[in-house]
Symmetry: C2
Subunit: 208 residues, 2 copies
C-alpha cells in the first residue's frame, strides 16, 4: 500500500496512505529510533500520562507565530492566511512537579560522540540561566538517536559549555560527559519516556 | 495626521499613520481605561520589568494555532497560508517567582457589579484546579475597567464559583466578593501594574 510522509512545520511527521481513495489516517511515524516515537511525541505522551494521574502539570508551549493577515468569512471560523514562524523567547516545556517549577527543552541528535551546541539558541540558554537564578529546575532532555538513549542534563552544565564555546572552547557537549553528568532516562512501557524519574535524581542532587 | 487602528487577532491594537509615506510606528493603543494600556499590555510590561530585574520569569504563552498549509518559497521565509485559531489547554501566563510556580489568566470586564463566568473556559478552570493540587500559585487577574481597578483573585475562589454555577448557582462573581476576597493591585508608575505585590499577599495567605 502506498504511503507518503507528511512533514508538518512543527516537526511532527505523519504517515498517510498515498491512495487518495483510502482513508487518510494519522499514524505515528517510523522514526530513526528503534522505539517508533520522536522525542517530542514521547515527551508529550509522558506529559499526558503525568497530567492524567495528577503527578505533574507540564505542557509544551504553542509554536510562536507572527500573524499578518486574517480573513473572517461569514458562518466560518477565522482563517489565518498569512503568518510566519517567530523566534521563541523561552524553552518549549514548562510546568510544575512536586511543587517545583520545571523548565526544559528537548534536543535530538544523530551524532554518536557529542551534541553540537548549534542545537541550542542563545535565547534558550539565557532563559534557562534566568530560571536557575530563580531556583527553578532547569534542564535539557538530550536524545542520542543512534543509541536510543535519552538523558536529563542539568541546565547549569549546558550553560557552562555554551559560555566556554563563546570564549573559543569546543562547540559541542561530549556524549561521554553527558553520560557521566546527566541522568539517563530508563525506557518504560507507559509512558515510554518516564523522564520525571531522572528529574527526581536531578532534584535530589540539587537539594544536597 | 491621519491614523488608523490596526486590530490584530491576538487582541493587540496598534495605531499606525494612515499616510503611507509616514513611518509606520507601533504606539500603545488608546484603551477604554484611564491609564492607556490594555490589561494584557500592562501585564506584559510588568513581566518585562520583572524579567529585566531578575525578580521573576513569567511569560505569556503564544496563541495556539492549527497549521494546515505552509509554503516554502525560495530565498524567503516559510509562509503559513492556512491556519486556524485553536483552543488553549492551559491559562495564558506562567512562570517562576520566589521559587514558586506561578500560573494565571487575565480577564477584563466592562461590567460594574460582577464578572460573568462566561469569561472563563472550562479548560482554564480544570488547569487551575490541577495547578492548585500541585501546590502551585494559581489565580486570575480581574480588571473592572469602569473603576480602573485590578485584583488578584485566588484560583480556589474562581473554581468554587464555577462549580456552583454548574450546579445552578449564580453565573458571575460579584465585584463586592472580589473586593473582599481578592488582593487589589495598587497602581504603580513602573511597572503600571505591579501585580506581584498582590501575589505576595496571596502567597502569605496560603503559607498561613
Amino acid at each position: 500500500m502506498g504511503r507518503t510522509m507528511i512533514k508538518y512545520p512543527n516537526g511532527n511527521t505523519f504517515l498517510a496512505h498515498k491512495n487518495p481513495s483510502a482513508t487518510i489516517k494519522a499514524t505515528p511515524t517510523i522514526s530513526h529510533s528503534k522505539r517508533g516515537m520522536t522525542l517530542e511525541e514521547a515527551i508529550n505522551a509522558a506529559n499526558t500520562f503525568y497530567l492524567d494521574r495528577q503527578i505533574a502539570v507540564i505542557h509544551k508551549k504553542p509554536t510562536p507565530i507572527n500573524i499578518v493577515n486574517v480573513a473572517y468569512p461569514k458562518r466560518a471560523a477565522a482563517k489565518i492566511n498569512e503568518a510566519y514562524f517567530a523566534q521563541a523567547s523561552t524553552t518549549d516545556y514548562n510546568g510544575i512537579y512536586r511543587g517545583f517549577y520545571i523548565d526544559f527543552d528537548a534536543k535530538e541528535t544523530q551524532n554518536k560522540t557529542a551534541i553540537p551546541l548549534a542545537n541550542f539558541h542563545e535565547h534558550q540558554i539565557k532563559h534557562l540561566d534566568a530560571i536557575i537564578k530563580q531556583n527553578g529546575i532547569g534542564f535539557v532532555i538530550i536524545k542520542f538517536a543512534v543509541y536510543n538513549e535519552s538523558f536529563v542534563l542539568p541546565a547549569t552544565d549546558v550553560i557552562t559549555f555554551w559560555q566556554q564555546s563563546q570564549n573559543g572552547g569546543r562547540k559541542s557537549i561530549p556524549y561521554q560527559y553527558i553520560k557521566e553528568h546527566g541522568f539517563i532516562i530508563s525506557a518504560g512501557l507507559i509512558p515510554e519516556l518516564p523522564y520525571l524519574k531522572a528529574v527526581d535524581a536531578l532534584i535530589a542532587q540539587q537539594l544536597n
